[in-house]
Amino acid sequence: MVNIENFILDMFIYVGIFGVLSISLNLEYGFTGLWNFGKVAFYMIGAYTSAIITTLGQPFYIGFAAGVVVSSLAGLLISLPALRLREDYLGILTLVFGEIIRIILKNEYWLGGPLGIRGIPSITPAGLDYTTTLLVQLASITVIAAVCYLVAYRLIHSPFGRVIRGIREDELATASLGKNTFRYKASIFAISSAMAGIAGAFMGQYVTSITPDQFMPFVSFTVWMMVMLGGFANIEGAFLGAFLYIGFERAARIAKDYLLLPIDPNNLMFILTGLLILIFVFLRPQGLLKENKVRDYKGV
């Protein structure tokens, strides 16, 4: 039986990691209307970049910074074709991009190959007991998540946030009102890929070993699930969605220790996730929370 305290701390660390990923997807899809089914690619790039640099002996902040920079450059790169693409084509392109990155990492032995990278130095000093380690990790991801939230908050409650919503609603109309829509889309891709990058970098040092198979397309789909749960175009909802989904996953994990199931619990978990997606698409496609307003216009 696991220590319940540690179990909960670990769960909230993942809520933080996936909350950041959900904010990042929400900026892209919820606010700007960009379909990104390959969120995992940028998460993976951040994780690998930071892991490689820190295992070479560099301190964690250099690794994190590198993860952010490389991810955000990859985001810029993938946004170049997005200049001309239809939304659904962009979705397919990003989905495939994630798979390509994973296949490359799996086949390049100097990048770890199928076994990935092990022994990633953790940001917590050695010698702490496990609960304290988790507390330090939780504090760190809280800071990261808070910064990402603030960045997103500033973005969406500003004229910039108005323009990206405009692009989502009607790109031609936005361009006709003098906005260089490509610049906005590229900025959003770069910023949200940077967020996915830091989430990956943090995750890598937390679990201390990463393999390509941790970055299946399913990870991108769970982030979609979280965004849809919390509500599209709502940054608080991003955390709510991450909390609900991960809570559901953990509850199922505990339940399987007590229940005798006629079905493989791992399979059941995935099937339930798929069903949850379907239920939401049917019953509450817009998610739990309503869209964030640009401004309240108090006193107007």
């Binding site: 379909w35 693409l85 239809r86 659904d88 979705g91 086949n107 789909f221 995935f270 997606i277």
Partner: protein, 304 residues
């Protein structure tokens, strides 16, 4: 290493046939319903598993397995439309929500299959020894699959050009609302499209599995190239997709030789599909069908 051109061409025909089978259904549903059905990958996998059950568990033989997979996967496709996408479209779901639903549905299908057939690789017991035809190394299985795919292409061509249903299908896939306005029973056509498209995907799965093995990610691995064929060929265009499927088959087989020569992993052949996909998306977003159609029309105008 000497290049056996004939073998490359033959293998391209084989790979291309797989992509054609897998992509026809995808291009049709994408063209008519406007969303990329990600769960299509699972139809491919399902076909392989079902054929395995019929052929090797019920011991009815490989041909009946393939035939049963064709029919049952087709029925699965129709059921998918009846119970999932049809009601969603009726509710006015956006293209994004349909895509997300197809992802969720794909997850359900994949892990339900994993539950039924397990996670271990399965192999068809049917064995087809290779023999040489001139410079070619072939097996009866490969030959029959190429024959099958070519027959499917020919039947589709006849269906589309010679029958009323086929013309209605083409009209629906080109412009669903216009087709409906001109009195075509689009509902029936859409059902037919789901049946045929999924059935062919199932058959594609059998083909891929008979040559390699059956795994839960079988369909997923074919999906990237299928999407590449669909977009390269022009969404909704059957002829474009067929042409694109064979071109991609050729590119892949040629690419594998180049990769081996460069000392890179042959898994990178996916990169070629990706590369073709990106090029197609950027330079010919209407696909080959768009290009040829326009150029034909231009030429027509020059004549007239």
């Amino acid at each position: 290493m000497s290049l056996n051109i004939a073998q490359i061409l033959f293998n391209s025909l084989l790979t291309g046939s797989l992509y054609v089978l897998a992509a026809i259904g995808l291009t049709l549903t994408y063209g008519i319903l406007k969303f990329p059905n990600v769960a299509h990958a699972e139809f491919i996998t399902f076909g392989a598993y079902f054929a395995y059950t019929v052929a090797d568990i019920w011991k009815l033989g490989f041909p009946s397995g393939a035939a049963a997979a064709f029919v049952v996967t087709g029925i699965l496709g129709v059921a998918t439309h009846l119970f999932l996408f049809g009601p969603l479209i009726k509710k006015g779901a956006s293209i994004l929500h349909l895509t997300v639903a197809s992802i969720g549905y794909g997850i359900v299908l994949r892990y339900a299959m994993q539950e039924v057939w397990g996670r271990k690789d399965l192999y068809f017991s049917a064995y087809y020894p290779g023999f040489d035809v001139g410079p070619l190394r072939v097996t009866l299985l490969w030959l029959s699959f190429i024959f099958l795919a070519v027959a499917v292409v020919a039947i589709f061509h006849l269906l589309l050009t010679e029958t009323k249903i086929g013309r209605a299908m083409r009209a629906t896939s080109n412009n669903p609302s216009l087709a409906q306005a001109s009195g075509i029973d689009t509902k029936m056509i859409i059902m037919l499209v789901w049946f045929l498209g999924s059935a062919l995907a199932g058959l594609g799965g059998v083909m891929k599995a008979s040559d390699t093995r059956i795994t839960p990610v079988l369909g997923w691995n074919v999906l990237i190239m299928s999407f590449a064929s669909v977009i390269f060929g022009g969404v909704g265009s059957i002829y474009g997709t067929i042409l694109a499927g064979y071109i991609l088959g050729f590119v892949e087989n040629l690419g594998v030789i180049v990769l081996v020569a460069l000392g890179l992993s042959t898994e990178y052949r996916f990169l070629l599909g990706f590369f073709v996909l990106v090029c197609a998306l950027i330079f010919a977003p209407q696909g080959i069908a768009g290009i040829t159609f326009r150029s034909i029309r231009k030429r027509w105008r020059a004549v007239g």
